[in-house]
């Protein structure tokens, strides 16, 4: 392991950092609800499903960086082996809408999971599905593709 040089840590620096640490503990600790939610995250671990990772999110595209987020729909793509899920996410005030497609196109079912519960929809023969009135916040879709029998869960994103 490379040494990055010796550091002189002077007593007054130690003291000041210690005071800052105490201040941080008092003034901006991790809120109990956040800690509770973090601990509860394990319940979302995947069982009998493959992970479809986020491979593209138009929100993060340089070309669109100058546009206000409300002006264009957000396009996201998740990919697992041989399966992908594409979606368009739009916002109307505090509500989110999701129009998506299972690829390869086929019927199936989609369940949006979040801390608010689940919302489900069927995918038509072209793999298309639509979900309305979703609540903003972290969400993941569990998708079942009928033809292949595959079940994937998308990585969590913030709607």
């Amino acid at each position: 392991m490379a040494n990055w040089g010796n550091e002189q840590t002077e007593p007054w620096q130690e003291q000041l950092l210690g005071e800052l640490r105490e201040l941080g503990r008092a003034a901006d600790p991790v809120p109990p609800a956040v800690l509770f939610a973090a601990k509860g995250s394990l319940a979302w671990r995947r069982i009998d499903a493959d992970l479809a990772e986020l491979t593209s999110d138009s929100l993060l595209d340089d070309a669109l960086a100058g546009l206000r987020s409300g002006d264009v729909a957000r396009l996201v793509t998740f990919e697992a082996e041989d399966v992908s899920v594409e979606m368009e996410i739009t916002a109307t005030g505090d509500s989110r809408q999701l129009i998506g497609q299972l690829i390869p196109p086929q019927t199936g079912s989609v369940v949006v999971r979040s801390e608010h519960g689940t919302v489900d929809a069927d995918a038509d023969a072209l793999g298309r599905f639509r979900l309305l009135h979703l609540v903003p916040g972290p969400a993941s879709l569990r998708c079942r593709l009928d033809e292949s029998g595959r079940v994937v869960e998308t990585g969590w994103i913030v709607l």
Binding site: G24, V34, P138
Partner: protein
Amino acid sequence: MAAAPEAAAARPGPARATSPVSPTSNSYGEEMDGDEVAGWLKAAASGDATAWDALVGRYSNLVWAVARAHRLSAADAADVSQTTWLRLVEHLDRIQQPERLGAWLATTARRESLGAIRRGGRHIAVGTADDVGPGALDEPSPDGPLLQAEEHSALARAFGRLAERCQRLLRILMTDPPPHYEEVAVALDMPVGSIGPTRARCLERLQREVEIAGI
């Protein structure tokens, strides 16, 4: 399975002299114990809630600090925290280097923090060192600054007078337990080698502010 502390105990008092540092050590020269974390990861992947709680206990302050260092509101920081931990749940069985889990979490938290800023619709110069520079931060978060001192203590006020770069760095360095250099580097997109000198400069400036305020 050893129960993990909910929050690390206070650092021992006496000052330290020179200590060799590396990316995987903190400023006290302490190296990360990868074996313990590897054990927790493995157990958590099988659904062991105690092991998972140990991981959360060890790193939740760091994840929170990264979000707050990016000037996110408490609500946005909560989302960053949640998606970061969920990202770990997704990858529980594929963390290659357990001894660098902190850096993995810090990287993830930074990415999520940048996403939160994007979703806020602010205009940022992408891909530059100014991604979270003054241009994106000139509007104070409605939930308050990096430190929401209820009584606006003098130290918090002195902290608030520091340059943005110092506030960000110190917000990460103040984490309990003290972060490893690599964690700091990826949290703030800083070269590891610049952390020590910047830390010294920022502490000097804070000390000066403290003295000026007559604390």
